[in-house]
Point group: C2
Chain length 570, copies 2
């Protein structure tokens, strides 16, 4: 087993692949060194002067260890794992810690299994964490429930890497028995527990950490960074599409820098395609003044150490041959990617088959609703004074505004106002639940729009000023197995795009998906959605019942601060 | 399971133990912070303001994580594991990576089991590596053999932490099948492989590393340090009794410092008692200009990371409550030691029962030799020109000098010369082997001296100028089950000290052992052993057939450079 590596290492035999004349980053010392990198099988066997059966001249490249995304929800790209890999691998990412929180909330453990099996055909290592919060809250209907007992059963399985971000920190701190069972199960089998604890500090943080949580990607200022690091956490610098805190890199010091990783958390296909993945985070960090070697360590060695990935995250004999060769450590243009010893991407293009799709039945056709009619969207209230949700542009925080409405025929009319009807249609279990509310200031007019992505239970969320259009939108989503939809009442037309995998992701290629998605987004803006909003994705967060202040779920209007349902009537 | 920690962390319940008003070192940030350290069971649950059922005021102390000795042969202290702990735990050491190479060469796997079971009664975590080189060389007779097949069987056992320092690097680099089997077995069960590769570099080092070796404690200069770190090794800074390279700490940089640990390797009881253990290494490092926080990280967090010891090596919620409270980070006088949440030492004194001894039969009475007579030590040669061993003072390197001797009655006479007879008597398997040689310039006269500690096979090594005295010395060692002995021919007296455990370690307490040992050493010097030598221990290394140049083993005189036996006749 070892002999072939040894013989190549000492040059008694040729290596399989040699990257000739490289400059490479020694992340252990933070120094750029020179040499040929010799590879046998999936291992680096030596650095020096080597000959290989295949040789690639790298005179003008700087070779880095392959990048590790420390925390990502693949689903947020709306791409299949295969297509996701086709975008990020050419950007130098060779491993991800994936938390399939979204698809598991739709499909249960089958969602986890799908992600892993789909990713098996692409040259990307997916370390799959079992989502810890399924459902995210007890106040909504989702597609599956992972109790403490379920978690204990699944987290011990070989294919599960760890326990996904424990967002329900109040449950742990509050000693909720089921939540504790989940953490205890992960501890019992020695698996990592990722954290998510925005602004949690002091004694609450101490309590949270006592549950074995090791990471956080939610820090927002220096004090939070310093406290969490001093208490032993690893911190992800986040470079997502909507939420970012790469700026925390400025709090890195010589002493604490080993505790920083990089993650993308939620990153859309468009950003992956246009700007990149971890390569883009490195570019931004270095542009902001971070030492390049230190930045790269965050994306490589530090991540490997945090997650106990042995012999990974550096360029050294016996370490995994995952490599990203860049033009330089300023621009980080990835020119060549080696995954497990094989050249898998060049000049930003994947060299692997990107057309494969693993599509098991249990992640398809996941929209289960009765056929809806205009009447289902009537808002029958007993008062003219109603609560409306407002949402900040470019963010996900909402507020509550009391508005005066006109009522007629057991309904509220939003014509000629800046109000829209908002509805969350339960789509997993045919309960018939429709949560109803009002949205103010979003700007859409003349029909309805909606999608089957709505955090974290991913019911159908719709807005509109026309009940019939809203029903039509929901029915179309049922037909296409989930996705995005716009109904133009004036034209009497329905425009839609399928997200056939769990109603969250598309089995199509990124390029055509994006083209169509862009068209739909532009149509939404043309119908009035203000440019400050991300037309569909801003909508997708209006049911996220853990982010203040007023949200809508399938069971009704939810006051996040009181952590309880609230009446729409003021 | 977790609830009690959480409740104490958030101050809903009192902690078990609180170190009040501490300054403590946050090794993650390299900063000294302030707060009460609250402990429940064996865990730290929080830092802040806490109340405990037991409280200890630490206003004038600086609390550090308990020290980890990254590589140590307990046997070199000549103390039982229990007594060893009674010396090092009060010095702040709470965990060791132990390699029972010596006792395993005498007793086989029973030696490993003995060390672990003996250590079970003391508050010291012993991570036990299976020795990889038993026997150390094929040229000598030792007490046990661990083949590749044996290693595969044992290394997978739960109680075995990893594979001990792979000293036989030529075997790995040379693709020796049995050596490879050992490394492969450790890799197969995911266990660490410690290294030992003095001056190995370049392609040989690449080959050695391809066998999964992760550490080294033998670096002697900057180039060696830099190469080994750049190739992914962790380096132990060694603070042993005879071999030290703490000075390598000057090659630590902000970037590479996380790759440095501290170890003692071989450290005598006298040094442990007088100067200390890891505390002494820290003192010396800081005195030489190393940043105190960085030095402490080597002995704590870095060691834990290297060996994959989770939640250990720092002061943070959920981390193991192993703590060493010192006066300051200059003197490192350890005032209070907490092991797994219990106060186990104060002011340099152990608070645990130090009188216990686990003494299984299979580590006792390990000297198996026939009764010897003066004739057994005759040196019957055919030439007057013989090779004599010379040994550097204060070191273990030997040289070869050709001397002219007087022969009579089938023997060599060393009377009135600066030569001594040297003999290695096989003591494990009753083979009757006696390797014979000459030693020049050691200085002893008027009898014989010897001991049952002789690296690495631990046969009896004797020197003398009187055959009868040499036989008497050997026979006494048999009677007492091994140890140290001096025969004074003029007085016709035998002085001895038993090392009853495997002929290597004493079951007595350190203090009385040292008193008697010192007396014996003084007697040896009084009989002429030059002060530049460590009277007995210099002798113990004369059979170490892996250190140049001329050595004596039970099968004869060995030329280390030619790696072959050599005739005593020039």
């Amino acid at each position: 087993m070892l002999e072939k590596y040894i013989l190549a290492a000492k040059r008694s035999e040729k290596a399989d692949l040699v990257l000739k004349n490289t400059q490479y980053l020694d992340v252990f010392s933070g120094k750029v060194r020179k040499g040929d990198i010799a590879i046998v099988g999936d291992k680096i066997v030596g650095i020096g002067e080597y000959e290989g059966r295949e040789e690639i001249d790298c005179s003008d490249l700087t070779v880095l260890p392959g990048f590790i995304d420390g925390h990502v929800h693949i689903e947020s790209s709306q791409l299949s794992p295969e297509e996701f890999a086709s975008l990020i691998v050419p950007r130098g990412t060779t491993a991800i810690i994936a938390d399939p929180h979204e698809i598991t909330n739709v499909c249960g453990i089958a969602g986890c299994e799908y992600i892993l099996k789909a990713a098996a055909s692409v040259p990307l290592d997916v370390m799959l964490n079992l989502p810890s919060c399924v459902p995210a809250t007890p106040f909504e209907t989702n597609g599956a429930t992972l109790t403490g007992k379920d978690t204990a059963k699944y987290v011990a399985r070989n294919y599960i890497f760890g326990l996904g971000e424990f967002m329900n920190y109040p449950a742990l701190i509050g000693c909720d028995a089921d939540a504790l069972k989940k953490a205890e199960a992960a501890i019992a089998c020695g698996k990592v527990i990722d954290g998510h604890a925005p602004s949690v500090s002091g004694y609450d943080l101490n309590a949270y950490l006592c549950c074995g949580v090791t990471t956080d990607h939610e820090c927002s200022d220096k004090a939070e960074v310093e406290e969490k690091i001093s208490k032993g956490m690893y911190l992800h610098l986040r470079h997502g599409s909507s939420t970012r805190n790469l700026g925390n890199a400025k709090f890195m010091t010589a002493e604490n820098s080993r505790r920083f990783l990089i993650c993308t958390d939620d990153r859309h296909a468009a950003d992956l395609k246009e700007f990149g993945h971890i390569d883009d985070a490195l570019r931004k960090m270095v542009a902001s003044g971070v030492d390049p070697a230190r930045a790269v360590a965050c994306a490589t060695l530090n991540a490997a150490e945090c997650y106990g990935l042995k012999f990974r995250g550096a360029i050294a004999p016996n370490w995994l041959a995952d490599l990203a060769a860049v033009d330089n450590m300023k621009n980080f243009n990835v020119k060549l990617v080696v995954k497990s010893g094989k050249v898998v991407a060049r000049d930003g293009k994947p060299l692997f088959d990107t057309s494969k799709r693993y599509l098991p039945k249990n992640v398809l056709n996941t929209v289960h609703i009765p056929r809806l009619t205009a009447d289902d969207f009537k808002l029958d209230v007993n008062s003219d004074r109603l609560k409306a949700i407002t949402v900040e542009q470019g963010g996900i925080l909402t507020d509550c505004e009391t508005v005066t409405v006109k009522r007629a025929d057991g309904d509220v009319s939003v014509k000629d106002t800046d109000l829209l009807k908002l509805a969350v249609v339960e789509r997993h279990k045919m309960t018939g639940n429709i949560g109803k509310g009002l949205l103010k200031g979003y700007g859409f007019k003349g029909g309805a729009m909606g999608l089957s992505v709505s955090h974290d239970s991913h019911n159908i969320i719709l807005l509109g000023d026309d009940n019939r259009a809203m029903a039509g939108a929901a029915n179309r989503l049922k037909e296409i197995g989930g996705g995005m939809v716009i109904v133009d009442s004036a034209e009497n037309k329905i425009y839609s795009l399928a997200l056939d995998i769990a109603g969250l992701m598309s089995s199509r290629d990124a390029e055509s998906l994006q083209r169509d998605s862009k068209e739909l987004i532009e149509r939404a803006h043309a119908m009035g959605v203000k440019r400050g909003y991300s037309a569909f994705m801003s909508l997708a967060f209006l049911s996220l019942a853990v982010i203040p202040k007023l949200k809508l779920v399938d069971k009704g209007l939810f006051d996040v601060e009181k952590f309880a349902f609230t009446s729409i009537e003021e």
